[in-house]
Amino acid sequence: MWLPNSKIYCIIVKTITLDGPSENKLTLHIVFILQNSEDIRCKCICPPYRDIEGQIYKQNVSLKDCNCLHVVEPMPVDGKDVEAYCLRCECKYEERSSGTIKVITIIRYGDATIIMYLSILGLLLLYMVYLTLLEPMLKRRLFGHSQLIQNDDDVGDQQPFANAHNVLSRSHSRPNVLNKVEHAQQRWRRQVQEQRKSVFDRHVVLS
């Protein structure tokens, strides 16, 4: 699968179909791009030699051509000194990851890892902002002021999640899918609140 010096992208599309017990057929498309030609290099570092400054050379050549004679261009010394000069150079063949596995459905040329990292980070931040700012506001609109004032005695009231108990008790009445999701979410929020209490307020664990 390793293609040295490929000038074109090699695209392999795999389609995996999983047969579930129900009619739901899950189809996954996995697309790999192997070895973008920009992702290999041969790097030669040549130390100062006589009156020639040290220099770094980079060429896009395959592993077998990765030596001083192929990469150092233009050769700073003339014929008889080439061997002496080249002896001191160190050439390394390197490949990097940016092109090895890319999910192009996400982005064409970008480094998938960074994009993925940023999207998860962004989602988390958005969710945090939602829980801290927007939700209390919505709640206030929906349920009026009174219920929020009720748990003022709660320790982490300014925190997100603070009104978890409140919603939990309310959501028992209407059992449907949406409520189940909300219930699970509230349960999680209550757990986080518990954790936060033990870590940040009481300092019993992880200090």
Binding site: E90, S98, W188
Partner: protein, 839 residues
């Protein structure tokens, strides 16, 4: 045949004994603890979920009753388990009650019970497999599932570690500038193909713009410097702020290094949610932020936590591991090995780390599995190739310069330095963390992180050795100066008359230092002082923070300084007797990079007290087997020196600070106390709360449970004789009585609670009894009252017991729990026994 299954599950009903945690917050002894459990437990996030059944009450009848014939003879025998199960008639109530046999949060598991549960399960699968093809396949897949799980853990952790490496590298460079031909490239990859970089300035290329170049248009001059400085501080503060708020909002358990807690969990403690998916996500994301914010911390320790989270989450895919706490801990041990394997690119070192440092129970099978998982993880990471140099770590070095026997002297000096630094660091850090735990400081985690990050950024920017990330600094220091290097540390005076060119690349003769090198040296000295100070306050803050990299950096700086000093000393004093034999003019006799490496190992050894695993990790990092002896000498010295100031490493110190119930296997128990001195009740206390096997009503039992806070109760024949029948757990008892009241007809408060095999004759109009014999642990461990404590401690340690009953002439006298032992040990060592918080 219900019996067999039930006994398999319940035989060793859990532990309990001693009081529950004194802390009121955890005192869920009241009955609503039960309901809370049913709420919480079926979540994936749980460290523990219900063994044997989900808590979905409607579901219980579908649980495999295993009522095919032929198991009666497999009475689940452990040697010590004398009591053969009674072949009582079936009773609808003896259906397994969901929730029985599980543990509460912040409690300790009973290894004996869990292990025998697994053995029974295994035995049953084995004997069944002879019957049908399907069962045979089941057996095979069951045997295979452990390896499959290891494969998955390795793949997942390797992939995550690769992602963390790439993202952290990119985000770190983000503090200085941005790449114009693709913002996702870090500095090095931005200049990957460019031919602009020169020999002297290797990271210059037109695509990479520093913030000053982008904002004010020029990269030179005082104003540009100030702009860069400001941007550096801005990003550092932003990253650390994001990290700490995310941790605080979504997963408080994601903070810290995680190794002390993993160690405690592996010894049998339960912290729900500590290895859950939210912890995993948040720890992965914030680890990158914390590392890139320039704080003096590393990603290696947290990677162990990340790998353990992966393992715990993947355990949910396999019933064998989902339902058994002991089996799951075997997987977690292997996951710890995976964590180190990907952190340092050292698979063998990882396995040894797990064995030496974190694991409590490490059978050979786990050794092989860790080996396999570490291999898979390292392979995955290698195929991701996060650094683009085909290495697994940034600071991989490769040099083969020989060393002379006389150099052992300086190496041992480095060992002494490492030991002193380790001892000092532990003292200072624990004092600081205690301050955080007890004073107002702990109430402002966000402010604390921001202040430390601000100070770190402010001080570190002017000095190029503190500005770069810890891993890069170590890379620079480990590097051996060859002709090809142009860093400041390699500014030696060129030897004008030497006939250079004869030797290629490496193997440069010792040369006199140039002014550039002297500048580098004093910068390094300042960096050393700064790192030593700031690491003490950084480790333990509420962001993911590892300790390996900062400790190694401190040691590497000290080592490099000593190395350069030795080199110059040898250069100017060829004629000294000690140098005469091996350091003639023109010879390459001292390698400063090697000193840096030895120093790094010594400091890390002083802080963590690792020995074997540390040396293996270091030589896997360097790929040079010839440096084992210097590394061993330095590590051993550092351990001796550090141990002279205090026996515990940083992780044990943190475990003790938090009061986790961790029975240190390394510590000797040397006092002459007896079991009777340690057991509860003490002489002045009221008698032990016991249940009788018959004659108690539901109401009386509930009153007894409600009036105490113990997590388990011995069952005796009668109050007068006090002869022991078995042991029952509070949690099981409560769940079962509650279940009986709800589901069994006719049970009222005056019903009898029976622990006997056969119900005694009752009046015809009496309400039906509640039969709870299946809850009973019929083979509780007992010791005589005059058993010396050192033997008792050994029993606890080796078998992983939770509690042990004390008898005198066959009569039940009292109970010893793990917590009692820990308290007793603390008392003997003149520490506060109330520091042990958890059961």
């Amino acid at each position: 045949m219900f019996r067999f299954w039930k006994r398999a599950n319940w035989k060793y009903t859990i532990l309990g004994g001693g009081e529950r945690m004194d802390n009121a917050g955890y005192n869920t002894g009241s009955f609503d603890g039960l309901h809370q459990v049913s709420d919480d437990v079926d979540d994936d996030d749980e460290m523990v979920d219900i063994a044997g059944a989900t808590l979905d009450f409607s579901n219980t009848d579908d649980d495999p009753p295993l009522n095919s014939g032929g198991y009666e003879e497999h009475s689940p025998g452990r040697g010590m388990n004398g009591a053969g199960g009674p072949t009582a008639m079936m009773d609808p109530l003896e259906d397994p009650v969901p929730g029985v046999g599980t543990y509460e949060d912040f409690n300790t598991i009973d290894w004996v019970r869990e292990k025998s549960k697994d053995r029974d399960r295994h035995r049953e699968i084995t004997s069944k497999s002879k019957e049908s093809m399907g069962a045979l396949l089941h057996r095979i897949s069951d045997a295979f599932s452990g390896w499959l799980l290891m494969l998955l853990v390795g793949l997942m952790s390797g992939a995550l570690a690769g992602g963390i490496d790439i993202s952290a590298h990119w985000l770190t460079d983000m503090k200085e500038g941005v790449c114009l031909n693709g913002f996702w490239f870090n500095h090095e990859h931005c200049c990957w193909t460019s031919n602009e970089p020169t020999f002297k300035e290797r990271d210059k290329c037109p695509d990479w713009k520093s913030w000053a170049e982008l904002i004010v248009g020029t990269g030179e001059g005082g104003f540009a410097y100030v702009v860069n400085y400001m941007m550096f501080m801005f990003w550092a503060l932003l990253f650390s702020f994001l990290a700490v708020t995310l941790v605080k909002s979504f997963a408080p358990y994601a903070c810290g290094s995680g190794i002390p807690e993993i160690k405690t969990i592996l010894s049998g403690f339960i912290i729900r949610g500590y290895l859950g998916k939210w912890t995993l996500i948040v720890k992965t994301i914030t680890l990158v932020l914390a590392v890139s914010s320039g704080l003096s911390l590393g990603k290696e320790g947290p990677l162990v936590h990340v790998a353990c989270c992966c393992a715990n989450i993947l355990c949910h895919l396999f019933t064998k591991y989902r339902k058994n706490e002991a089996k799951r801990r075997e997987v977690l041990s292997a996951a710890a090995a995976v964590g180190v394997s990907v952190a340092f690119g050292a698979p063998i070192g990882g396995v040894l780390f797990s064995l030496e440092e974190v694991s409590y129970y490490f059978p050979l099978k786990t050794l092989w599995r860790s080996f396999f998982a570490a291999l898979v993880a390292a392979f995955t990471l290698r195929s991701i190739n996060p650094f683009g140099n085909s290495r697994l770590v940034l600071f991989y070095v490769e040099f083969h310069a020989p060393w002379h026997l006389l150099e052992l002297g300086p190496f041992i000096l480095l060992g002494i330095f490492g030991g002193l630094w380790g001892a000092l660091f532990i003292r200072a850090n624990i004092a600081w963390c205690r301050r955080r735990k007890t004073t107002l400081l702990g109430h402002y985690p966000i402010v604390e992180v921001l202040v430390v990050a601000g100070v770190t950024a402010l001080v570190s920017f002017p000095n190029s050795y503190t500005r770069m990330s810890g891993a890069e600094l170590i890379k620079e220091l480990f590097n051996d100066c060859s002709l090809l290097d142009s860093s400041q540390l390699c500014r030696y005076k060129q030897d004008t008359n030497a006939t250079a060119g004869t030797s290629a690349g490496n193997g440069l003769a010792d040369r006199p230092a140039d002014s550039g090198l002297y500048t580098a040296l004093w910068q390094l000295s300042l960096a050393l002082l700064f790192k030593m100070g700031i690491t003490v306050v950084t480790f333990g803050m509420k962001v993911p923070s590892g300790l390996f990299i900062p400790s190694m950096a401190v040691g590497a700086i000290a080592g490099r300084l000593l190395g350069v000093g030795m080199e110059q000393l040898a250069y100017y004093n060829h004629d000294w007797a000690i140098f005469r034999g091996w350091c003639t003019p023109g010879a390459d006799c001292i390698t400063p990079g090697l000193y840096a490496m030895v120093g790094a190992a010594a400091c890390l050894g002083g802080v963590t007290r690792m020995t074997v695993s540390l040396v293996v990790i270091m030589f896997e990092l360097t790929g040079g087997l010839e440096y084992i002896v210097p590394l061993m000498a330095a590590t051993m010295t550092s351990k001796w020196v550090a141990d002279a100031f205090g026996r515990e490493g940083i992780y044990e110190a943190h475990i003790r600070l938090n009061g986790y119930p961790f029975l240190e296997p390394k510590e000797e128990f040397e006092h002459k106390s007896l079991a009777v001195d340690v057991m509860r009740p003490r002489r002045a206390d009221p008698a032990l709360a016991v249940l009788t096997q018959e004659g108690m009503t539901v109401e009386e039992a509930e009153a007894l449970v409600a009036s105490t806070r113990y997590s388990g109760f011995p069952v005796v024949v009668s109050q007068e004789s006090q002869r022991l029948v078995g042991f029952v757990l509070r949690r099981d008892l409560l769940i079962s009585i509650d279940n009986a009241r709800q589901r069994q007809e006719g049970v009222v408060s005056s019903s009898q609670v029976l622990f006997t095999e056969h119900p005694p004759a009752q009046a015809a109009d009496a309400p039906p009894p509640v039969r709870l014999r299946s809850l009973l642990d019929l083979s509780p461990f007992t010791v005589a009252d005059h058993t010396p404590m050192d033997i008792t401690v050994d029993i606890f340690r080796k078998l992983g017991l939770r509690q042990c009953l004390v008898t005198h002439n066959g009569r039940l006298l009292g109970i010893i729990t793990k917590k009692d032992i820990l308290k007793h040990m603390a008392q003997m060592a003149n520490r506060d026994p109330d520091s042990i918080l958890f059961n």
